[in-house]
Amino acid sequence: MFLGLAELRHAPGRFVVLGVVLGLLVALMTALATIADRHVTDLTGKVATSPADLLVLDAAAQGALQASRIDDEAAAHVRQHAAGAELAPVGEQRMGARVADGELLDLSLWGLDPDSPAAPEVIAGRLPRQPGEAVLDVADRAQGAALGERLTLVDTGTVLEIVGFTAEARFGAIPTAAVTYDAWTEIAAEAADADPDEVEPTAMAVRADGGVEELAAALNGSSSPVQAAPPSSLASQLPGVAGVRASFGLLLGVAWMAVAAVAATFAVAGVAHRQRTIALLRAVGAPRRRLLAALTVQLLVVTAVGAVLAALLVVLAAWLAPADVPLRWEPGTWAASAAVALAATLMASAVAVVRLARVAPVDALGARR
């Protein structure tokens, strides 16, 4: 161990370069994992955080909320199979909006009744109870949202007062607001130049007293006009979610292999560079185990330094990143990335161990290369 640390102090240059490379790779892994998590939360949060036991969509929508409408036939099907369960309509529509006098934003506007199975949880303020009130997600504070501030729906000219904030409850990775369901139908009807009675819910929220799986199975029976699923399951089926998870998972796998390959390259080159020194140490009685420990300690120290550098880089990047880049400093994700990098480094050191094990004491007497 002391041998490894002594060499680190004696020739720090190449260890610094390796530490920087590993630090950038760990920062990259942390950023990829954080962005993937945050992006999925931004895409699906409003559905995933729904307190309902089941959400029911139009079967033809194939899990896409924007394509879903619960018509009379579908609503009757739900009422028939969910007798005794608490039901509530849910509305969702994209609109143009401004917070105060800010720039024009794309908004996902939800209609959710405050005392229903669809009611969102607020972390500040309260739920909307009047037609002119709305809650926004706390992430939308970056757009200037604050309690008491105005939210203007450009499509209809409707002005809403922000009375509360939800957390982790965005939808479609855009600012997300909720009003009462009645207020939503009025707004949706005005935007579509239709009668409020013609506006159909986008989905239905169901709260059951137990037997959720059986209820879902009954609602999803053959030739059913609806698709019922728990919110978390429905969230994972929303458009784009599987793609984001698979894409970032693939990139993380490649990054992990890159960490292992970089560490292995360095470790093997280090053994090759110090072959005669290692042979001499073996000749004067240094046990092979001690030399292996020195090499491993060096790699672990450098990886740990790289992990600390990665933390600084991610904190800096999260601070500098524009609001629409979902990068945050999340210690848990960083710790997981650092642990994975350490594991990759240990695996990589095995390659150098094989090479080191081949160095014989007699090599110390060999001709100079």
Partner: protein, 377 residues
């Protein structure tokens, strides 16, 4: 030339030593290529519908803010735009998210695009068959991506589980928000919209966005129309592409990831430069002692690094193509030559600078006298 010969001779003499280094480089380049291909695939998969059109200006209503899905401009409103001297021709498109199944198979999410029979609103090319003719009911042209690429002309398509149309043509690279598109004439589109969005009446004209071919610079035309029409949001086709939900955020986010990956590549190149010199310090010192200039030795190190880089780029390109082929369909990776050329070119320049910048300080300090001194342990 001497530097290059030295590098080639050493690579020929000890090819094994370069193998592991090449693997490390190839993995970092694989990461850079994968991220870039993914970013490209994500953007192209979201914006194909706009790129397929022969239009250079896109008009939506002001509240829609360039978003095709939200725009509610009615087809008749384009007449006023057609009167403008800076507009050559105009068309209308309307988008409706729905589902489609081919030949009774499993339904999948699609975007139905209603289009007017005007040049800017029609896909430029069909890869097979034709587009629905004006007034022809029950026909559609579909994105080749539908049904995993198994759709052919003559198939029957069920839209939203209730309306059947015959596939009369195939279009390529025309998806929207990672979903295939189905191109319909006005009547079929209006019927479908009425069925899917039951709060909407049958639309006598397409409701959505107006697309234009301009006679002047598209940006100037967009600015001029915006100034004259407060109720419209007008932008170039490129502007509309950037306004597609998620596109700008994806470009910024994945662009930053690509930049960090390239920084890793430069750092790795610097590390290789340092290791190359340290590993062969005795040999390089001896070469200095017999008169080799430090610059020749630097050239040999740089050439060796570049050769390793080129080898790694070839391996990583092949690996990326394989990865894109075996990845699940939900991973929209597209390995286009322009991506390989840009990542390869930028990384090669950066790597050459990294190798030389890291190796030069050590090479320039090599003392020829050390060649005859006792080797330090």
């Amino acid at each position: 030339m001497t530097g290059a010969r030295l590098a080639l001779a050493e690579l020929r003499a000890r090819p094994g030593r370069a193998t592991l280094t090449s693997v490390g480089l190839a993995l970092v380049l694989l990461l850079a290529l994968s991220v870039t291909a993914l970013a490209d695939g994500l953007v192209r998969g979201s914006t194909g519908v706009l790129r397929a059109l022969d239009a250079d200006v896109v008009v939506t209503d002001e509240a829609a803010n360039h978003q095709l899905l939200r725009s509610r401009l009615v087809g008749a409103e384009r007449t006023a735009l057609l009167m403008r001297p800076d507009v050559a021709t105009a068309g209308q498109i309307g988008l409706v998210p729905t589902s489609a199944s081919v030949g009774g198979g499993a339904p999948e999410r699609v975007t139905a695009v209603g289009f007017s029979p005007d040049a800017p609103a029609m896909p430029r090319d069909t890869v097979d068959g034709r587009l629905p003719r004006p007034g022809e009911p029950g026909s559609a042209a579909v994105d080749v991506a539908l049904a995993g690429g198994d759709v052919v002309v003559g198939d029957t398509l069920s839209l939203a589980g209730e309306r059947e149309v015959e596939v009369v043509g195939l279009v390529d690279d025309a998806s929207f928000l990672q979903q295939p598109t189905v191109w319909l004439g006005q009547h079929d589109w209006a019927r479908l919209r009425q069925a899917v969005q039951r709060d909407a009446d049958y639309a006598e004209q397409l409701v959505g966005a107006t697309v234009l071919q301009s006679t002047e610079h598209p940006e100037a035309v967009a600015t001029a129309i915006t100034e004259e029409h407060d109720e419209l949001a007008v932008t170039t086709r490129e502007g509309a592409v950037a306004a597609v939900p998620g596109v700008s955020a994806q470009q910024v986010t994945l662009g930053a990831v690509v930049a960090v990956t390239l920084a890793v590549a430069v750092g790795l190149a610097a590390l290789i430069g340092v290791l190359q010199v340290l590993e062969r310090r005795a040999l390089l010192t001896a070469l200095r002692a017999v008169g080799a200039p430090a610059r020749t030795l630097l050239a040999s190190v740089a050439v060796r690094g570049v050769l390793l880089w080129v080898g790694a780029l070839i391996v990583s390109t092949a690996a990326t193509v394989i990865l894109a082929a075996v990845a699940p369909p939900s991973v929209p990776m597209e390995v286009r030559p322009v991506i390989v050329a840009s990542v390869g070119g930028i990384s090669l320049v950066a790597a050459t600078l990294g190798v030389t910048a890291a190796a030069w300080p050590i090479l320039s300090r090599l003392d020829p006298q050390d060649a005859v001194a006792e080797e330090p342990l």
